[in-house]
Symmetry: C2
Subunit: 200 residues, 2 copies
C-alpha cells in the first residue's frame, strides 16, 4: 500500500491543508473573497492540484461542509430527552458563538443565498446533523418519555431554528439562557404531542 493511499497519507494531508486554508479565507474574506490561488498559496499546495480536485470556490465550500459534518458532534445520550435537547441547544450555541466556526457558517449561509452549489452543501450538512440528532427523540419514544410517532427531525429543527434565527435574521445575541429556554419550549410542545406526525 503506497503512502498516498493510506488514511492520513499525502492525499488526506493535502485535503486537510486545503480545507483549513479555505476556512481561514472564508472567515477573513467571506465567500465573495474566496480565491482559488490564495487558498492554494495558503495551503502550500500547487494551484493545479486545487483546481483539478475542487474545481472552484463552491467546490471547496462543499467539501469543507462535508468535512465539518463528519467532525460534527454525535447525538447526546444523557438518559433523558430534557438533557438531550438541552445538549442539542448547547451544541448549536457552541458552534455559532465559536469565532471560527460561527464565521464559517455565516459565510456559507450568505453564499447559499446566491450560489446553488453552496446551497446544496449547506443543505447536506444540516440534513446529516438533523438526522444524527433526531435519534435522541426515537430513544425518548422508546423510553416512553414522548408520544409514539413524534417526528425527531422536526423536534431538532425546532430547537436549532430560534438560535440560527437570532444569529442571522434578527441579529440578536444568542446566550446560554436563550438556548435553555428554547429547549424547554420545544420539550413542552413535544410532550403535548405537537410533533406527532400526521397520519396520511
Amino acid at each position: 500500500m503506497s503512502g498516498s493511499q493510506r488514511p492520513g497519507g499525502r492525499t488526506a494531508r493535502v485535503r486537510a491543508a486545503v480545507l483549513e486554508a479555505t476556512q481561514d479565507e472564508l472567515v477573513e474574506r467571506g465567500f465573495h473573497g474566496l480565491a482559488m490561488d490564495q487558498v492554494a498559496a495558503r495551503a502550500g499546495v500547487g494551484k493545479t492540484t486545487v483546481y483539478r480536485r475542487w474545481g472552484g470556490p463552491a467546490g471547496l465550500v462543499a467539501d469543507l461542509m462535508d468535512s465539518l459534518a463528519t467532525e460534527s458532534a454525535p447525538h447526546a445520550d444523557t438518559g433523558t430527552i430534557e438533557g438531550d435537547l438541552l445538549e442539542n441547544a448547547r451544541n448549536v450555541l457552541g458552534a455559532i458563538t465559536d469565532a471560527r466556526l460561527g464565521a464559517t457558517f455565516q459565510a456559507v449561509i450568505a453564499a447559499a443565498t446566491c450560489d446553488e452549489e453552496a446551497s446544496r452543501a449547506l443543505h447536506g450538512f444540516y440534513t446529516r446533523r438533523i438526522e444524527e440528532w433526531a435519534r435522541v427523540v426515537d430513544l425518548a419514544v422508546e423510553r416512553g418519555e414522548l408520544p409514539a410517532g413524534t417526528d425527531g427531525g422536526e423536534v431538532i429543527r425546532a430547537v436549532s431554528a430560534p438560535l440560527y434565527y437570532r444569529l442571522v435574521v434578527t441579529r440578536e445575541e444568542v446566550t446560554g439562557d436563550v438556548a435553555a429556554r428554547v429547549a424547554g419550549q420545544v420539550l413542552a410542545a413535544a410532550r403535548a404531542g405537537a410533533f406527532v406526525r400526521a397520519r396520511t
Copy 2:
C-alpha cells in the same frame, strides 16, 4: 406649504423611486452588486442626490428595510390565538416565498453577515415586526387563552424561526403545511406555559 414638503410630494417621490430601484438591484445582483450610480440611473434621479441623502449602499438598504417595516402587515386579530399564530406563520410564508420580497430578505441577510449597517437595518426591521405581532399574545392572555406572563416576542420568534431556518440555513422547501404545523407546535408549548417569563 411647498410641493416638496407635502407627503407624496417631490421628496417622497424621489425616495419611493430610489428605494424601488434599490430593491430591483438587490433582487438582481445581491448586496455585493449594489452600486449607487446604477440605483440613481434606474430611479431616474441625480447621482448627487442619492449620494447626499443615502451615503452608500448600506444606507440604501437601511432605508429600504425601514420602508418595508412601515408597509409590513399589522398583527392579525382573528379572535383566537390559534388563528392569529397561523396568520403570523402564513404572513412569514407569504413574504419569504414572494419572489421579490423573499430575494430582498435573502440579500439583506447575506449582507448582514459581513456589514454592520445592514445588520442593524435587519435587526430594526424584525424588532418592529416582532413587537407588532407580540400583541396577539397579550390579547390572548387578556382573553384567558394563554397563561399570564407569556412572552409574546418569544412566541412570535418561535413561529417565524423554523420558517426562516428552512429558507436560509437548511435550504429546505417552506410550504403551507410546514407553516401550519409550526404554528400548532408553538401554540401547544404556549398553552403548556413554556413561554411564561422567568421571575427574576
